[in-house]
């Protein structure tokens, strides 16, 4: 067994040192009835090449995004990750290190986290960012709880443009909470969230670009919220949009949560992803998640440590701001490397290219007979109304090897008003040929 260093005689020697008759003697505390009292019936160990063949066969049964034209978005985006990023994150010293609790021999991870926090704060226009959360959806739920702690008020209003999965996660975290108001889906970009704000409101949650691709007005929202002592939580599922859209921090956001997958991380069928969270300086002590800070060592040299851990479960236990422990360290590294490679110039160029391709896509879709593009504004994603139910249409296009986007009904089943809607995204990887193929296939399917 290739992963186990002991030979049989080493095992025997060690048992001898321990003074145990056999290995079972070390399991003496286990009730007899439960110790090795079964036959697992699982396959035995296998050579690497057979395991590889097994896994390759499974992978081969999936249609990879690169296999044809691809327009699926709705919270996860296919961008190009430079080879450098994936190479670097596989280095032993990044991949196989633990959480940097021993700073003297973890300065690599710690300095990287400090750089990551800086990058995240900068793109969001906020004072501070944490060292990552699981993903955007759980980050949104954490932000909602954080807002309650900060304001000591209860009412939470979720915009109708919030990703339905994010809404569901907040609902699960706030189970049956009557103070949680979820506005109905707003595929046309309409919104009545500002009317919902009252003196009991802890926070309103607005996603932009929203689930349907529309850009939302954060400035008015911030003003309305702040007027009532409520916080504005901004959610971003496509972090690339921040290269082209005004920073939420500059518009008055109090907490910004984002899904960071687009930078540095593959689609991975939904995970692992990367939760980003940034906030105002004065809110740090209610922030969940790890924070890395600068300090000096005994020789006066600059160094970094995890800090403010009195917010965290391993110190504060039931009084912690969150129960999160393991977070998305390596995804944060991937993000930080990719963002470090992009820099301001590259990040802005990337965002512009995404928007450019999305405009081409929108224009091409608008030209397909029977198709309406619902968006007046968008970044790289938009919603169309088709004359047919979306689910079947998308399925038929998939059979033509075109992954045409997400039928809204997949996330909001049973809602007749969205049955014919499809959300489509374009990125820097979308080619003119892809768009032409989609438009042609859609035209044929709808003919």
């Amino acid at each position: 067994m290739r992963y186990l260093p002991h030979s049989e005689h080493e095992r025997a020697d060690m048992l001898g040192v321990i003074g145990a008759a056999d290995i079972d003697a070390l399991f003496s505390a286990v009730p007899k009835s439960a110790l090795k009292s079964f036959d697992l019936g699982l396959p035995a160990h296998q050579p690497e090449f057979l395991v590889e063949a097994h896994m390759r066969a499974l992978a081969a049964k999936n249609h990879a995004a690169g296999d044809g034209p691809f327009f699926v978005g709705a919270g996860a985006y296919r961008h190009h990750v430079p080879a450098t990023v994936d190479h670097l994150i596989q280095r032993s010293e990044w991949l196989t290190a633990y959480t940097p609790y021993q700073p003297e021999i973890s300065q690599g991870t710690l300095q990287m986290l400090f750089e990551f926090q800086t990058q995240v704060a900068k793109i969001m226009g906020m004072d501070v960012a944490n060292a990552s959360l699981y993903d955007g959806s759980t980050g949104t739920a954490e932000a909602v709880l954080m807002a309650r702690r900060l304001t000591k008020k209860h009412k939470i209003v979720l915009s109708g443009g919030l990703h339905p999965h994010y809404r569901d996660v907040v609902k699960a975290y706030l189970k049956d909470d009557p103070d949680l108001i979820c506005l109905s889906p707003s595929p046309e970009g309409q919104g009545d969230i500002l009317q919902q704000i009252d003196g009991n409101t802890a926070a309103i949650v607005i996603q932009t670009p929203d689930f349907y691709g529309h850009l939302r007005d954060l400035k008015s929202a911030a003003e309305a919220a702040h007027a009532q002592g409520a916080l504005l939580i901004v959610v971003v599922t496509e972090v690339v949009s921040l290269g082209l859209l005004e920073a939420p921090g500059a518009l008055g956001a109090d907490i910004v949560v984002a899904e960071g997958q687009s930078i540095g991380n593959a689609l991975n069928f939904g995970g692992p992803y990367l939760g980003l969270m940034a906030t105002r300086k004065e809110f740090i002590r209610q922030m969940p998640g790890r924070l890395c800070g600068e300090t000096v060592d005994a020789d006066g040299n600059r160094g970094f440590v995890l800090t403010l851990s009195t917010r965290e479960q391993h110190i504060r236990r039931e009084k912690a701001t969150s129960n999160i422990c393991t977070n998305s360290g390596l995804c944060a590294l991937a993000f930080s490397i990719h963002m470090g490679l992009l820099g301001e110039a590259g990040f802005v160029r990337l965002a512009r290219l995404n928007h450019f391709n999305a405009i081409k896509l929108a224009d091409a879709l608008a030209g397909v007979p029977g198709v309406d593009v619902l968006n007046k504004t968008f970044f790289n994603e938009m919603t169309i109304r088709t004359p047919q139910p979306a689910a079947g249409l998308v399925e038929r296009l998939a059979r033509r090897c075109i992954l045409a986007g997400v039928p809204v009904s997949r996330l909001l089943p049973g809602d007749a008003t969205v049955e014919n809607l499809i959300i489509l995204a374009a990125t820097e990887l979308t080619t003119d040929a892809d768009i032409a193929a989609l438009a042609a296939a859609l035209t044929e399917e709808l003919a």
Binding site: E52, I105, G300, N301, L341
Partner: protein
């Protein structure tokens, strides 16, 4: 790195001047001190946006984001990485963390485009292999635990705890027991346990441990009341002991109308050898990033699937996979489901691939052997060190980790922390310290099955030599340690008192440099 008084670096890659200076581990400036907003390591075409669709929401503020060209970035991240200890470069005996070997086959498989380049919302007909993979992983987890259902989606152990406790809450409500607002948690529990219970609004009530480090079923009975919704028990527990009365405890808990949440972080000790379902648990998370070798990544990502008993199975969250008429179906919504979903999409696919690859490589036989080797290694360390180190709970053989306390250091002026830092100078990562809380100055050592006898022998020799040196009064070696690492001890108080959490341009700093 030589620094000016503001703690800023004076150059690029200076070799430290102290004893810790190594020509091959030079200091490295911050990304922002190397790059600027013009440099970029990504070539992209410049496009003209003549007619944008941004509706006036376009960016007006500058990002001020430094960029690096590719060779600069490569060097920056390679140099930073060289300041890290890692499981690949040395023993990492962190108790409760299961820092085992991370096979690279797993990394390779996770990167097959058929797994890494598929979207969570593309048509289910186009991801049948992914669903099959999730099904196979589920089968292994269910078989190894002998439980009824598994929810794969939690993102890490603590997230699994949350899901499990949510399911318990929902089940109690379904039984008309919504008033049950207490959760029992032993003091030795990991911080995530009480934090999770509190997160869901439960009152946390502690259960005392016995002298021998295990939980007394009688103490549990005494603590149980009609207000108790559940107990959260770690087994093997955080002292490295298997709870001998776990079956009785489960029965008592069930008899009292409560559920048994088992923290499965220590499953590595018993996988393939003991099935938690046979012990009466109702929910248990499994840290794929511990037991099933998905890499820890410097702090994640992990994956914390939760197995559930028959009683809790109906309260599993979406999504899950089931067999349908046209192949595998992904169930993403249930009408009136009690729990809904705990994360967007379907969880940590990348970790599932790695974990299943690991399981297939090891096989059922290999997993059991691995568990037994993990236990063997911990007992070997205990046996070799128990004559010098103090063992708080000597009554039982230990499981996968060996726990010592600091009483052997009492007269030395050397603390557990000092001792651990001295280990750094010997090339080892310190053990877990000051956890579990039930032991004074705890040193929790988990070698895992991945360490060879040769390495364990060397580790024990170093540990013994250090202990003897501490007892011989050589306090200075410990209090000044580490001296051979990239940094000496860091000022954590300063970090917390005057938090500097992001880089600011020296010019932007309130008090400028010098």
């Amino acid at each position: 790195m030589s620094m000016n008084t503001q703690g800023r670096p004076t150059g690029v890659g200076t070799v430290g001047t102290g004893a810790s200076g190594s020509a091959l581990i030079p200091d490295e400036p911050l990304l922002f001190e190397i790059g600027d907003t013009e440099h970029s390591g990504v070539d992209l075409p410049e496009v003209t946006l003549s007619n944008d669709r941004l509706g006036g929401f376009g960016r007006k503020t500058k990002l001020d984001l430094a960029g690096l060209t590719e060779p600069e970035a490569m060097r920056h991240y390679v140099r930073l990485s060289r300041m890290n200890h890692s499981i690949d470069s040395g023993m990492y005996p962190l108790g409760s963390c299961t820092m085992k070997h991370n096979p690279r086959l797993n990394e390779k498989m996770a990167r097959l485009p058929g797994f890494s380049d598929i979207h969570p919302l593309q048509p289910v007909s186009t991801v049948q292999g992914a669903l099959d993979m999730m099904n196979q992983l589920s089968h292994w987890l269910l078989t190894l635990t002998n439980t009824a259902a598994v929810a794969l989606s939690p993102k890490a152990g603590a997230h699994g705890e949350l899901l499990g406790m949510m399911a318990i809450k929902a089940a109690q409500e379904a039984r008309g027991q919504a008033h049950r607002n207490v959760v029992l948690v032993p003091d030795s529990a990991h911080g995530t346990n009480p934090a999770t219970a509190a997160f869901l609004g439960y009152l946390v009530k502690s259960v005392p441990a016995r002298e021998d480090g295990t939980v007394d079923v009688e103490a549990v009975k005494a603590a149980l009341s009609p207000d108790v919704a559940a107990i959260m028990l770690t087994n093997p527990n955080t002292c490295g002991l298997f709870e001998p009365q776990v079956i009785e405890i489960a029965k008592a808990v069930h008899d009292a109308g409560a559920f048994f949440y088992c923290d499965g972080a220590n499953f590595n000790a018993i996988m393939g050898v003991v099935r938690p379902g046979d012990l009466g648990i109702d929910a248990m998370h499994i840290n794929l990033h511990k037991t099933f070798s998905t890499p820890h990544g410097g702090g994640g990502p992990g994956a914390g699937p939760v197995v559930l008993s028959e009683a809790l199975a109906p309260f599993a969250p979406v999504p899950f996979v089931r067999k349908g008429a046209d192949g595998l179906e992904l169930v993403e919504h249930i009408e009136g489901s009690a729990l809904g979903r705990v994360t967007a999409f379907h969880g940590q696919m990348g970790m599932y691939v790695r974990a299943l690859t690991y399981m297939l490589s090891h096989g059922g036989d290999g997993l059991a052997q691995a568990a037994q080797d993990a236990v063997l290694n911990a007992n070997y360390i205990k046996a070799r060190l128990q004559h010098i180190f103090s063992v708080p709970f000597p009554d039982y053989p230990t499981m996968h980790e060996a726990l010592f306390d600091d009483s052997f250091l009492k007269e030395t002026g050397v603390s557990t922390l000092d001792f651990a830092k001295a280990l750094i100078d010997e090339g080892f990562h310190p053990m877990t310290m000051y956890f579990p809380l039930v032991v004074h100055g705890a040193m929790l050592i988990e070698p895992t099955e991945s360490e060879s006898k040769q390495t364990l022998d060397r580790f024990c020799a170093v540990m013994a030599e250090l202990a003897n040196d501490a007892l011989a009064g050589n306090k200075e070696r410990f209090t000044s340690a580490p001296t051979k690492a990239p940094r000496r001890r860091l000022d954590e108080t300063r970090a917390a008192r005057q938090p500097v959490l992001k880089w600011e341009k020296p010019a932007d700093l309130p008090q400028a440099a010098e």
